[in-house]
Protein backbone atom coordinates (compact mmCIF):
# COMPACT_ATOMS: atom_id res chain seq x y z
CA UNK A 1 0.00 0.00 0.00
CA UNK A 2 1.50 3.35 -0.95
CA UNK A 3 1.35 6.54 1.10
CA UNK A 4 -1.58 8.03 -0.80
CA UNK A 5 -3.69 4.91 -0.41
CA UNK A 6 -2.86 4.84 3.28
CA UNK A 7 -3.87 8.49 3.73
CA UNK A 8 -7.10 7.81 1.84
CA UNK A 9 -8.06 4.89 4.06
CA UNK A 10 -7.19 6.90 7.18
CA UNK A 11 -9.34 9.72 5.86
CA UNK A 12 -12.27 7.32 5.55
CA UNK A 13 -11.71 6.05 9.09
CA UNK A 14 -11.57 9.47 10.80
CA UNK A 15 -14.41 11.04 8.81
CA UNK A 16 -17.25 10.14 11.23
CA UNK A 17 -15.39 11.70 14.16
CA UNK A 18 -14.03 14.98 12.79
CA UNK A 19 -15.39 18.33 13.95
CA UNK A 20 -13.46 20.59 11.58
CA UNK A 21 -14.47 20.20 7.94
CA UNK A 22 -11.83 22.57 6.55
CA UNK A 23 -8.98 20.74 8.29
CA UNK A 24 -10.48 17.47 7.08
CA UNK A 25 -10.59 18.67 3.45
CA UNK A 26 -6.91 19.62 3.75
CA UNK A 27 -5.92 16.45 5.57
CA UNK A 28 -2.25 15.62 5.08
CA UNK A 29 0.60 13.94 6.94
CA UNK A 30 0.97 16.88 9.31
CA UNK A 31 -2.68 16.89 10.36
CA UNK A 32 -3.21 16.45 14.08
CA UNK A 33 -6.26 14.40 15.07
CA UNK A 34 -7.13 16.52 18.09
CA UNK A 35 -5.72 20.00 17.44
CA UNK A 36 -6.66 20.15 13.76
CA UNK A 37 -9.55 17.75 13.15
CA UNK A 38 -10.95 18.44 16.66
CA UNK A 39 -11.67 14.77 17.18
CA UNK A 40 -13.04 14.19 20.66
CA UNK A 41 -10.48 12.25 22.68
CA UNK A 42 -12.98 9.48 23.46
CA UNK A 43 -13.46 9.08 19.71
CA UNK A 44 -9.72 8.66 19.31
CA UNK A 45 -10.30 5.26 20.90
CA UNK A 46 -12.76 4.55 18.08
CA UNK A 47 -10.23 5.68 15.47
CA UNK A 48 -7.71 3.25 16.97
CA UNK A 49 -10.21 0.38 17.07
CA UNK A 50 -11.29 1.16 13.48
CA UNK A 51 -7.65 1.16 12.34
CA UNK A 52 -7.19 -2.23 14.02
CA UNK A 53 -10.26 -3.61 12.23
CA UNK A 54 -9.46 -2.08 8.85
CA UNK A 55 -5.84 -3.27 8.69
CA UNK A 56 -6.27 -6.36 10.85
CA UNK A 57 -3.45 -5.28 13.18
CA UNK A 58 -3.16 -4.84 16.91
CA UNK A 59 -2.23 -1.42 18.22
CA UNK A 60 -0.58 -2.06 21.56
CA UNK A 61 -0.40 0.48 24.39
CA UNK A 62 2.99 1.74 23.32
CA UNK A 63 1.86 2.42 19.75
CA UNK A 64 -1.43 3.89 20.92
CA UNK A 65 0.42 6.56 22.90
CA UNK A 66 1.64 8.09 19.66
CA UNK A 67 -1.64 7.96 17.72
CA UNK A 68 -2.14 11.72 17.68
CA UNK A 69 -1.46 12.65 14.07
CA UNK A 70 -1.83 11.30 10.55
CA UNK A 71 1.93 10.94 10.28
CA UNK A 72 2.33 8.85 13.42
CA UNK A 73 -0.73 6.75 12.58
CA UNK A 74 0.77 6.00 9.17
CA UNK A 75 4.10 5.02 10.71
CA UNK A 76 2.37 2.73 13.21
CA UNK A 77 0.23 1.06 10.55
CA UNK A 78 3.24 0.54 8.28
CA UNK A 79 5.28 -0.97 11.11
CA UNK A 80 2.47 -3.29 12.23
CA UNK A 81 1.73 -4.38 8.66
CA UNK A 82 5.41 -5.15 8.11
CA UNK A 83 5.43 -7.30 11.27
CA UNK A 84 2.58 -9.44 10.01
Amino acid sequence: MDKNELIESLKKIVKPYIQDEAAFENLNEDTDFINDLKINSANLVDVILDVEDEFDIEIDNEAMEKMLSVKSAMAIIETKLAEK
Binding site: D46, N61, M64, E65
Partner: protein, 203 residues
Protein backbone atom coordinates in the same frame (compact mmCIF):
# COMPACT_ATOMS: atom_id res chain seq x y z
CA UNK B 1 -1.94 23.24 38.58
CA UNK B 2 -5.34 22.18 37.38
CA UNK B 3 -7.15 20.31 34.66
CA UNK B 4 -10.85 19.97 33.97
CA UNK B 5 -13.12 17.94 31.77
CA UNK B 6 -16.78 18.08 30.82
CA UNK B 7 -18.91 15.22 29.56
CA UNK B 8 -22.33 15.80 28.05
CA UNK B 9 -23.90 12.45 28.94
CA UNK B 10 -26.61 12.75 26.30
CA UNK B 11 -24.02 13.25 23.60
CA UNK B 12 -21.77 10.54 25.03
CA UNK B 13 -24.63 8.10 24.50
CA UNK B 14 -24.62 8.65 20.75
CA UNK B 15 -21.03 9.76 20.14
CA UNK B 16 -19.28 6.81 21.74
CA UNK B 17 -20.18 3.23 22.27
CA UNK B 18 -18.35 2.15 25.40
CA UNK B 19 -19.72 -1.36 24.94
CA UNK B 20 -17.89 -1.65 21.66
CA UNK B 21 -15.51 -4.59 21.59
CA UNK B 22 -12.08 -3.51 22.78
CA UNK B 23 -13.13 -0.08 24.06
CA UNK B 24 -12.96 -0.79 27.80
CA UNK B 25 -9.69 -2.72 27.42
CA UNK B 26 -8.03 0.18 25.59
CA UNK B 27 -9.07 2.78 28.15
CA UNK B 28 -9.38 1.18 31.57
CA UNK B 29 -7.14 -0.89 33.83
CA UNK B 30 -8.43 -4.30 34.97
CA UNK B 31 -9.24 -2.76 38.35
CA UNK B 32 -11.26 0.00 36.73
CA UNK B 33 -13.06 -2.47 34.48
CA UNK B 34 -14.08 -4.32 37.61
CA UNK B 35 -15.53 -1.12 39.10
CA UNK B 36 -17.42 -0.45 35.85
CA UNK B 37 -18.80 -3.97 35.62
CA UNK B 38 -19.84 -4.12 39.25
CA UNK B 39 -21.84 -0.93 39.42
CA UNK B 40 -25.53 -0.45 38.70
CA UNK B 41 -24.82 2.48 36.40
CA UNK B 42 -21.89 1.40 34.25
CA UNK B 43 -22.51 4.12 31.69
CA UNK B 44 -22.10 6.99 34.15
CA UNK B 45 -19.13 5.29 35.79
CA UNK B 46 -17.37 4.94 32.42
CA UNK B 47 -17.67 8.68 31.80
CA UNK B 48 -16.84 9.65 35.37
CA UNK B 49 -13.58 7.67 35.17
CA UNK B 50 -12.93 9.03 31.69
CA UNK B 51 -13.32 12.64 32.84
CA UNK B 52 -11.02 11.96 35.81
CA UNK B 53 -8.35 10.59 33.46
CA UNK B 54 -8.74 13.50 31.06
CA UNK B 55 -8.46 16.11 33.81
CA UNK B 56 -5.37 14.44 35.26
CA UNK B 57 -3.82 14.12 31.80
CA UNK B 58 -4.27 17.84 31.26
CA UNK B 59 -2.12 18.56 34.31
CA UNK B 60 0.44 15.86 33.59
CA UNK B 61 0.96 16.96 29.98
CA UNK B 62 1.51 20.56 31.12
CA UNK B 63 3.83 19.51 33.96
CA UNK B 64 6.08 17.48 31.71
CA UNK B 65 5.47 19.37 28.48
CA UNK B 66 4.46 16.22 26.66
CA UNK B 67 1.63 14.83 24.57
CA UNK B 68 0.50 11.24 24.31
CA UNK B 69 -2.62 9.11 24.34
CA UNK B 70 -2.52 6.54 27.11
CA UNK B 71 -5.70 6.66 29.16
CA UNK B 72 -4.83 3.35 30.82
CA UNK B 73 -1.71 4.83 32.41
CA UNK B 74 -3.92 7.04 34.54
CA UNK B 75 -5.36 4.87 37.28
CA UNK B 76 -8.50 6.12 39.01
CA UNK B 77 -9.42 5.45 42.62
CA UNK B 78 -12.94 6.15 43.79
CA UNK B 79 -13.22 6.93 47.48
CA UNK B 80 -15.97 8.49 49.51
CA UNK B 81 -13.75 11.30 50.75
CA UNK B 82 -11.41 11.99 47.85
CA UNK B 83 -11.15 10.58 44.35
CA UNK B 84 -7.67 10.36 42.91
CA UNK B 85 -5.88 9.60 39.65
CA UNK B 86 -2.32 8.29 39.69
CA UNK B 87 0.37 7.96 37.07
CA UNK B 88 4.03 7.07 37.72
CA UNK B 89 3.92 7.76 41.48
CA UNK B 90 2.15 11.10 40.97
CA UNK B 91 -1.30 11.47 42.43
CA UNK B 92 -3.83 14.06 41.39
CA UNK B 93 -6.89 14.96 43.44
CA UNK B 94 -10.17 15.09 41.59
CA UNK B 95 -13.65 16.22 42.41
CA UNK B 96 -16.58 15.64 40.11
CA UNK B 97 -20.09 16.95 39.93
CA UNK B 98 -22.39 14.40 38.37
CA UNK B 99 -25.95 14.87 37.26
CA UNK B 100 -28.19 12.91 34.96
CA UNK B 101 -27.14 15.19 32.12
CA UNK B 102 -23.48 15.88 32.63
CA UNK B 103 -20.23 15.40 34.51
CA UNK B 104 -17.64 18.04 35.32
CA UNK B 105 -14.37 16.96 36.86
CA UNK B 106 -11.68 19.16 38.29
CA UNK B 107 -8.23 17.74 39.00
CA UNK B 108 -5.56 19.48 41.01
CA UNK B 109 -1.96 18.73 41.83
CA UNK B 110 -2.22 20.19 45.31
CA UNK B 111 -5.13 19.61 47.60
CA UNK B 112 -5.71 23.20 48.62
CA UNK B 113 -5.30 25.28 45.49
CA UNK B 114 -7.51 28.35 45.28
CA UNK B 115 -9.46 27.97 42.07
CA UNK B 116 -12.02 29.89 40.06
CA UNK B 117 -14.23 27.57 38.06
CA UNK B 118 -17.56 27.66 36.32
CA UNK B 119 -19.69 25.20 34.43
CA UNK B 120 -22.45 26.31 32.07
CA UNK B 121 -24.97 25.23 29.47
CA UNK B 122 -24.37 26.42 25.91
CA UNK B 123 -26.82 27.80 23.37
CA UNK B 124 -26.14 24.89 21.03
CA UNK B 125 -23.51 22.22 20.48
CA UNK B 126 -21.73 23.57 17.39
CA UNK B 127 -17.97 23.76 17.79
CA UNK B 128 -17.90 27.54 17.30
CA UNK B 129 -20.47 28.17 20.01
CA UNK B 130 -18.73 25.75 22.39
CA UNK B 131 -15.34 27.33 21.79
CA UNK B 132 -16.37 30.99 21.69
CA UNK B 133 -18.70 30.88 24.68
CA UNK B 134 -16.19 29.04 26.83
CA UNK B 135 -13.39 31.47 25.87
CA UNK B 136 -15.64 34.49 26.44
CA UNK B 137 -16.73 33.30 29.89
CA UNK B 138 -13.15 32.48 30.86
CA UNK B 139 -11.93 35.92 29.76
CA UNK B 140 -14.66 37.64 31.75
CA UNK B 141 -13.80 35.62 34.86
CA UNK B 142 -10.07 36.28 34.49
CA UNK B 143 -10.72 40.01 34.03
CA UNK B 144 -12.81 40.04 37.18
CA UNK B 145 -10.43 37.95 39.26
CA UNK B 146 -7.24 39.80 38.33
CA UNK B 147 -8.90 43.20 37.98
CA UNK B 148 -7.95 43.93 34.40
CA UNK B 149 -10.16 45.07 31.50
CA UNK B 150 -11.55 42.10 29.60
CA UNK B 151 -10.18 43.56 26.34
CA UNK B 152 -6.67 43.06 27.73
CA UNK B 153 -7.17 39.35 28.35
CA UNK B 154 -5.97 36.98 25.65
CA UNK B 155 -6.12 33.21 25.45
CA UNK B 156 -3.38 31.63 23.39
CA UNK B 157 -2.16 28.11 22.74
CA UNK B 158 1.37 26.80 23.04
CA UNK B 159 3.08 24.40 20.61
CA UNK B 160 1.34 21.45 22.23
CA UNK B 161 -2.07 23.04 21.78
CA UNK B 162 -2.30 23.79 25.49
CA UNK B 163 -4.06 27.06 26.28
CA UNK B 164 -2.68 29.77 28.53
CA UNK B 165 -3.88 33.24 29.45
CA UNK B 166 -2.06 36.47 28.76
CA UNK B 167 -3.19 39.83 29.99
CA UNK B 168 -1.71 43.26 29.99
CA UNK B 169 -1.40 44.94 33.33
CA UNK B 170 -2.46 48.56 32.96
CA UNK B 171 0.29 51.18 32.82
CA UNK B 172 0.22 51.45 36.54
CA UNK B 173 3.30 50.90 38.68
CA UNK B 174 5.75 51.80 35.95
CA UNK B 175 8.30 52.60 38.59
CA UNK B 176 7.71 49.44 40.55
CA UNK B 177 9.86 46.38 40.23
CA UNK B 178 7.11 44.58 38.33
CA UNK B 179 7.74 44.97 34.63
CA UNK B 180 4.82 46.41 32.72
CA UNK B 181 3.56 44.30 29.87
CA UNK B 182 2.04 40.87 29.66
CA UNK B 183 1.45 38.60 32.58
CA UNK B 184 1.15 34.92 31.65
CA UNK B 185 -0.83 32.41 33.61
CA UNK B 186 -0.54 28.82 32.61
CA UNK B 187 -2.65 27.15 35.26
CA UNK B 188 -5.88 27.22 33.33
CA UNK B 189 -8.06 24.57 31.85
CA UNK B 190 -10.90 24.68 29.36
CA UNK B 191 -13.32 21.96 28.38
CA UNK B 192 -16.46 21.68 26.35
CA UNK B 193 -18.55 18.80 25.14
CA UNK B 194 -21.99 18.88 23.57
CA UNK B 195 -24.16 21.42 25.31
CA UNK B 196 -21.80 22.13 28.20
CA UNK B 197 -18.69 24.17 28.73
CA UNK B 198 -16.43 24.83 31.70
CA UNK B 199 -13.24 26.57 32.65
CA UNK B 200 -11.01 26.61 35.69
CA UNK B 201 -7.95 28.59 36.67
CA UNK B 202 -5.72 28.95 39.68
CA UNK B 203 -6.20 32.31 41.37
Amino acid sequence: MIGNDVVDLNLAKTQSNWKRKGFLEKVFTPKEQLIINNTADSFTTVWLLWSMKESAYKIYSRQYNTRFFAPKKFECELNTIQNTVSINEITYYTSSTISRKNIHTLATLNKDESITTDFFRLKNDTYDIQHNTTYKNLKLAVAKQFKVPVTKVKIEKDNNGIPFIKYRKGNLNLSASIKPGYVERTSISISHHGLYGAYAFVN
